[in-house]
Amino acid sequence: MRTGTVYTETVIYSAPEAFAKDVPYQTAIVSLEDGGSATGRVTARIMGDRVAIGDHVVEVEPGEARAPQMAGVPFFRKV
């Protein structure tokens, strides 16, 4: 799985209709170790799992957390 560093992040409280049930959730732009950047979700079942700029993260397999309309969206977790 890809690894990287959090370039920036936010926690969203007011969502588009399609994601309203997920609120609040965190998104981040991750600078990938192998080059380039990716925008993804941060997996966090508890607040402590949230990430900050500079944190190292690894891509995870989100399972059911990835709704069908989110095909291709990477999910990251703090290392």
């Binding site: 936010t10 926690v11 969203i12 409280y13 007011s14 969502a15 209709e17 959730y25 925008t39 979700r41």
Partner: protein, 413 residues
Amino acid sequence: MSPGVEVCNLFGSPTPELCCILLIFRHMRSVAVIGAGKTPFGIFADRDLRSLAVEAGEKCLRNGNVTPGQIESFYLGNFAGPAFVGQNHLAPYVSTALGIRDVPATRVEAACASSGSAFFHAWAEVASGVYDVVMVVGVEKMTSRTTGQVNQILAEAGDCSGEMLAGNTFASLFAMIARRHMYEFGTKKEHLSSVAVKNHANGALNPDAQMRKVITLEQAMNGKPIADPLNLYDCSLISDGAAAVVLAPYDRAREFTDKPVRILGIAQASDYVALDQKADITTFPAVRRASEKAYAMAGVTPRDIQFAELHDCFTIAEIIACEDLGFAPRGEGGPYAFEGHTARTGERPINTSGGLKSKGHPVGATGVAQICDLVLQIRCQAGERQIPRHSLGLAENLGGSGATCVVSILGEV
């Protein structure tokens, strides 16, 4: 020495590209805004898109003493009429309702810079001599949708195959920009909030503003969270409204009005739509590129600009615009706002209209509304919010998270 270099040296502009622009601009006709008009911005349950556009258009024609039959080309700036109100083919839909027949009627879409871009293309048409009298209307009718639906429709101005699939909103994109700006430059939450306090204070004096309410710094810092670090008070409004201007060659302007306002410099620039494709999200290259060209055309420097209408879709956007336009050094836009330099009584008043934050932000109307607000100040017709130094103003209209920018410099000379 080539003539280009001479022109260049005259304005102290270094790049060959700018030299070319200056040479081209010297062969273009000077263009003036001869009429301007807009609707109030707000939530108008009983008004449809066309009636708003027609109200602004008729006010504008009256203001410029222009008849519908004199309009030779018509532009409509609109972001998402099809999604918001289920109507497409909007340019002739509006122009014919204004009594403008037969002429080219063209819709321009560039997210929140839709009518700024329409204004740029109308200017080019007059400057190049294709037509003389050209009208631009900007309109958006947003409030017939729920906030969730509006978020969804606005999100389509981002990259829907990437960043938006993750659940981002426009607020969250600008929240990520704010986070990075805070991390790199020490920008503080109170800096962001001070922009909201200032723009609300200005909007309270604008009879056409949607939210005429003075707020305190404490209120602004403790609004309902939207996307950290942005709260409700950092976000512009969801609005209905329209704005219109008519352009003509400066040489013919006095056939219509004794108060023409000259377009001294104008440029549009573009950049990536997706935020994660940019090397640095704390600056908007399109704003830098467009303003460099506009300054060069006008033969002015940032220091000369007396007041401005900037695209404060979110408080952080006004702070970064001040840096990219050269009003404040890079990274210092936060303190620049917080210390009062941009207040109505400061050295360079910004958003005396109340900005998108307080005046309202009917997306497709915003670019032309900014031009109308510059015209009001330059003509000394801004009422209670009139500022004393009002002869040279700048408007910056930003689309998406910086993929389109139009910068216009207007003056009374």
